[in-house]
Symmetry: C2
Subunit: 102 residues, 2 copies
């Protein structure tokens, strides 16, 4: 079997002013759910102390397809629908990398 490179995604969501904390709470719930998803090897929620609106999400998935599949799980879709109204701008794609070593 060929070696499959793990999929690494580092991206951010920008909350409306005063909504960062609420968005962070939703993303913590998402991380708990994602960690049970097939192929999820890492799911980090972080913030920049100097930025009061952005929430950073850093993920490793066994394959990119595993990541895509996770987005359509029922609980995840509910959390996405809670997060969308808190956003100040549409989500961007994020930085897509290939894990060499972890």
């Amino acid at each position: 079997m060929l070696h499959m490179s793990k999929y690494f995604l580092h991206g951010s969501l920008v909350a409306k002013p005063n909504s960062q904390k609420e968005l962070t709470q939703i993303m913590i719930q998402a991380s708990k759910l994602m960690k049970t998803a097939n192929g999820c090897e890492l799911y980090i929620v972080s913030t920049d102390p100097a930025d009061t609106q952005t929430v950073w999400i850093t993920e490793i998935w066994t394959t990119k397809q595993d990541h895509e599949n996770s987005l359509s799980a029922t609980g995840v879709r509910e959390l996405i629908s809670k997060a969308i109204p808190l956003l100040d701008q549409p989500p961007t794609k994020g930085q897509e990398l290939t894990v060499i070593s972890n």
Copy 2:
């Protein structure tokens, strides 16, 4: 005891043309060493398939001080001295974040 926020660092090194692979090998060695260092909770080496020069390093440390201490360990300094001549530009600071959930 107060909760200490974990230190998250996401940054890159840019290798000279044709040196990305060699730099990656050095960073894999560094990751093995770093994972034994006090406070190192994550050390990922990754690349962007569309970029033939950059190597990305993503780290979580229990404290920022743990990260700083790690850089002066003997083996790490040796690896840094091997990596420096391969770089196309001086290392930049990278993105410093605070882990909320991992």
